[in-house]
């Protein structure tokens, strides 16, 4: 049995136990999904303490609404969609402190191959820039990469049609490309370097 199928079976069994009155059975669900939920929340706020608070709130809401899971989708799909709602509304209430995307400055020097730290910092600026996107573009990006670039899973979590999601992703990428034009040079340099290394080999 695959890991996903096993976790789906375990989820179902634990949910049944919780609904039968065994509150402690929920702990297995928490332990199974705490990592993904905290990481998902982290992508929304990039603040560790707040990510744990948000994930905790999502688990509590899941506990309260467990009877509402209709088993049409997997438990994880339901849990992620519920968590996305919790994170979205909480961040509307208390927004993360972000500078507007127009004020984000791309580091002037493209990182050299040797300067790994500089590269990591540049990439972190790009990741943080996602939070400066408007919500309609930000959330698809956050969830798309959280779901390891699975369009269908992201669309299910957001309750959007796949076409709409793709359009929003495309717009978000366009905005990020416009804000970080030097990434294009870096990408070209990396491709050139890779092809040169390939020829030499």
């Amino acid at each position: 049995m695959s890991t996903t199928a096993k976790s789906a079976t375990d989820d179902l069994a634990d949910v049944e136990r919780v609904l039968a009155g065994d509150a402690n059975a929920f702990e297995a669900i928490v332990r199974r999904w705490q990592g993904p939920l905290v990481n998902m929340a982290w992508r929304y706020c990039r603040d560790r303490a707040r990510a744990e608070e948000l994930a905790q709130e999502a688990f509590v809401r899941a506990w309260r609404g467990l009877r509402l899971w209709r088993r049409e989708s997997s438990f994880s799909t339901w849990l992620f969609a519920l968590a996305a709602n919790v994170f979205r509304s909480d961040l509307k209430r208390v927004p993360t402190v972000n500078i507007p995307i127009d004020d984000i400055v791309e580091p002037s020097q493209p990182a050299s191959q040797a300067d790994e730290l500089q590269r990591k910092l540049r990439y972190e600026v790009v990741r943080r820039a996602v939070l400066a996107l408007p919500l309609r573009y930000r959330e698809p990006v956050l969830l798309f990469y959280f779901h390891e670039m699975d369009v269908a899973a992201t669309a299910r979590t957001m309750g959007l049609a796949e076409g709409t999601l793709k359009a929003r992703l495309s717009r978000a990428r366009e905005l990020l490309r416009r804000r970080f034009p030097r990434l294009a040079d870096e990408h070209a340099a990396m491709e050139l370097s890779a092809s040169t290394t390939g020829k030499e080999a």
Partner: protein, 121 residues
């Protein structure tokens, strides 16, 4: 730029490990909720007669007001003869005022939408 580098940057996030007490603190809240007494349900049985009475009174009031307004409207031409022209002019312009307010609202909504979109550029 092709999207590969952007994909690589955004896909390679450091994986956070929840703090050791995370699951325990979630379960503490769950157990608190599980042992808490159930909220007292709203007393619909007692409230329904009151709600019905209130709806009836307000309905009757609305009917009476409409009836009086209709009868006042029938007498309006006689009254309007006595109104000075300076009072009637603003009333004639009401339609234009409504259109202007509508246009203002539409332009405000449009500008909000455009600002939200231009923030990306």
């Amino acid at each position: 730029m092709k999207d590969e580098l952007l994909d690589r940057i955004l896909a390679t996030e450091e994986q956070l490990i929840p703090s050791s007490g995370f699951a325990a603190s979630v379960m503490e809240r769950i157990r608190e909720e599980a042992t808490a007494p159930r909220p007292i349900p709203f007393p619909w049985k007692q409230a329904i007669p009151g709600i019905v009475l209130a709806v009836g009174v307000f309905g009757w009031g609305a009917v009476e007001l409409t009836r009086q307004a209709v009868s006042a409207a029938h007498n309006a031409p006689a009254l309007s003869l006595h109104l000075p022209v300076s009072m009637l002019r603003p009333v004639e312009g009401t339609g234009w005022v409504a259109i202007a307010l509508g246009a203002s609202l539409a332009s405000w909504l449009l500008s909000r939408f455009m600002i939200a979109d231009s923030r990306l550029l």
